[in-house]
């Protein structure tokens, strides 16, 4: 499979279809990989593929540094390819401006990443070229997909509050979560706006709550559950629980799952006249 990837990358760079290939390269230890940006056909041997390729490379589509390199080809797993669908839908990229080398995947990480447990996109839903043997995308039932949330939803109000306060207290406001997120692409984030100052910039419990809730809310109906925010968090806040909760609510209320169907209306930019309003008086 690695050979196939390298051949594909070489071919694309040689015939000028793309200027750069975003892929995975070997990391400092065998259990790690790192993103590589291949611009010359002779460098394609730096590309690799193994179960440690957990990252979502679509995050580099929002960076100035990598945008400058020219039209990219991205090596994407099924979950990462869902990001492309959301980005297309939100008019952040044009389909012809990216080349997608889809890879089929049976799960990454060792032990297996949480995001892979209920995976239903072993074969990417969108790609220009597919590398690896095509797998069947089996549907996973709703309850199973959000099973991780059960133990937290069961908690009482006070326990929930205490749990999250303990988590948010650790936050050092490094903003790694929003930097890594491929869907956090605002040029000017709400935390950078200070007239008025909506979110307190220093890392104290009060400001941390506003920041973490707002970050999660801005991904409502958009998050594709790549878990990158949680992976990069230096103080290990289970951020993806918040994202997952919102995804669950969006699916429950609007029957919408981001990144599956390019024809679906974006959940938060549309409405239905019969949306749930039981909680309205």
């Amino acid at each position: 499979m690695i050979e196939e990837l390298r051949k594909k990358a070489e071919e694309l760079l040689k015939n000028g279809t793309v200027k750069v290939v975003f892929g995975y390269g070997e990391g400092s230890t065998p259990e790690r990989t790192r993103p590589v940006f291949i611009t010359k056909p002779e460098d394609v041997n730096k590309l690799t593929w193994n179960k440690y390729c957990v990252y979502n490379l679509t995050t580099y589509l929002k960076r100035q540094e990598t945008r400058k390199l020219g039209k990219p080809a991205l090596i994407l797993k099924g979950c990462d390819a869902r990001t492309i669908i959301v980005l297309l839908k939100e008019c952040q990229i044009k389909r012809e401006d990216v080349y997608i080398i889809g890879v089929t995947c049976d799960g990454v990480g060792d032990p297996l990443a949480t995001k892979c447990e209920a995976c239903d996109v072993h074969t990417p839903l969108i790609y220009d070229d597919l590398v690896g043997e095509k797998r069947e995308n089996k549907e996973v039932p709703f309850e199973e997909r959000y099973a991780e949330l059960d133990e937290y939803e069961k908690l009482g109000e006070k326990e929930k509050w205490e749990f999250w306060q303990k988590q948010f207290e650790k936050c050092i406001k490094c903003y790694a979560c929003s930097n890594i997120c491929p869907l956090c692409f605002c040029d000017r984030c709400i935390v950078e706006k200070n007239q008025p100052q909506w979110i307190d910039p220093s890392a104290h419990p009060r400001g941390n709550l506003s920041w973490n809730v707002t970050r999660a809310y801005h991904l409502a109906g958009r998050c594709i559950n790549c878990e990158e925010c949680q992976r990069v968090c230096p103080v290990d806040i289970p951020l993806n629980l918040l994202n997952k909760k919102l995804a669950k609510e969006a699916e429950k209320s609007f029957n919408y799952r981001p990144g599956y169907n390019i024809d679906d209306e974006l959940a938060m930019s549309t409405y239905k006249e019969d949306d749930d309003q039981d909680f309205f008086k």
Binding site: E159, S202, V213, Y217, K245, L246, A250, E273, K281
Partner: protein, 158 residues
Amino acid sequence: MSETKFEPKIIAFLCNWCTYAGADLAGTGRKQYQANVRIIKLPCTGGIDPLFLIKAFERGADGILVSGCHPGDCHYNSGNYHARRRWNVFRPLLEFCGINPDRIQFSWISAAEGGKWVETINSIVDTVRALGPFEGYHKLNTIGPEISGEAAAPSETG
């Protein structure tokens, strides 16, 4: 001096066209209701960012009311529909973080429903009064976690 009773602070985010006019009608109709509510008038419920609610709690609110036109009556045609979508996901998120959903209430009150405004306010004030002050939030400090143990001890070299 007798012990002061807890009086909740309720912040109401109202749409200019319906609920604000409804509240006005309650006033001109000389209807009495509990005076715990502070009204913030906005052009439309569709313009209420969830951050407004977080900010209100940060600044000392014990309860929040968001109210606008009935579905189909929006002055801007669809503002309240968009707002409804937003609260549909935002409300469970706050609940998930341990905030009692009774502290944030939503209602549709038209310009003709002065009576409903009075009822809504009285009910939210009573509910929040029973819940007590939102101490959990108000006590969140703004100086970062306390440093304990060795890190806090003054260094010997001074």
